[in-house]
Symmetry: C2
Subunit: 194 residues, 2 copies
């Protein structure tokens, strides 16, 4: 059945390093409040196991933990339980490698890493096909880049390359909040209503 | 052909009034910088004709115009042309009725209004079916609510009700930035790659 996702073990990571800046240089980007909220809510909607926020910068880790803590402890926790349920999915880690380790620790399998690239390559796989592959019971870790995207080296190291998201135009500058939502929906959205 | 969108005339409106607050009361919500950027970029990606920002509050209209102006005039325009191309789609209007009028003025046809509701009703239509209907050459205006969603009265006045977005869980609290991206992709995304 196309809408049976019971065997899916998908986690996501929002990568703040290594990413590119406007000039194509590798940088560590800043954590954004709304990225955490939006991706957590999308992750919760689509049954994602864990949402890793990957940044090696200590002050950015502290900022991320402060945002999460605000909604998962004390007053915020009771004021808005929906936000709590979403933000509880987040784990702050230094690097993508630490997210991989954490998935290993949870399910004793090394997750396969998946990136979306703005460019189609020989190795790109379509969303429809990957939607099927995701059901094979193995853990997968989907990487989303911040700033101007994940560095080429990290992209090359990934196990899977999803094809770009095509709209109806040549314009290809979706926000990470929009792109991640679309990708989760293409991979895990119920097509036949609820 | 499923991927032929040449006859589609779709506009979107981000509704700041009348929307609901946490307690179900009708309010006018504040304009958010990132809503404008994200929805404009998604709109540009999916070939949306105009992105209306509807708020009757003069200070909020000024804020919206300031954000748009920053990226479509002077320094911002040349610093980041991608943002300019997206934000140029925005028109600030008082009410949804003014957005309807503006579409009329452009194409001499009254657009049909479309809402997404978190609840499925007898009148709800599936995304797949509406994807086909959208090709009929008529103008459509898709309404997205801010805060806790568009007021019941405005929902009832709409011509079309899209079914809710179903993920894989019962959690149903996507951000408007994520939900609007998913809806545009379901209605207009190219399924067969580019």
């Amino acid at each position: 059945l196309d809408d049976d996702f019971s065997t899916v073990d998908l986690s996501i990571a929002l990568v703040h390093y290594p990413v590119l800046n406007k000039n194509g240089e590798t940088i560590a980007s800043a954590v954004t409040n709304l990225d955490l909220h939006d991706l957590a809510r999308s992750a919760k909607t689509y049954g994602v196991k864990t949402f890793y926020v990957a940044t090696p910068l200590v002050d950015q880790q502290q900022l991320a933990r402060k945002i999460i803590g605000h909604w998962t402890e004390g007053y915020g926790k009771t004021y808005n339980p929906d936000r709590r349920d979403a933000l509880e999915l987040i784990k702050v880690v230094d690097y993508v490698a630490d997210a991989v380790d954490d998935v290993c620790n949870r399910c004793s399998q090394v997750p396969e890493t998946v990136v979306t690239s703005a460019r189609k390559t020989d190795r790109s796989i379509g969303f429809e096909r990957f939607r099927g592959i995701l059901r094979d019971g193995k853990p997968y870790l989907l990487l989303f880049g911040t700033a101007w995207g994940i560095s080429e080296e990290m992209i090359r190291q990934a196990d899977w390359f999803l094809e770009p998201i095509y709209g109806t135009t040549a314009y290809n500058h979706l926000s990470v909040r929009a792109a991640s939502a679309i990708i989760l929906d293409r991979l895990l959205g119920r097509k036949n209503g609820g």
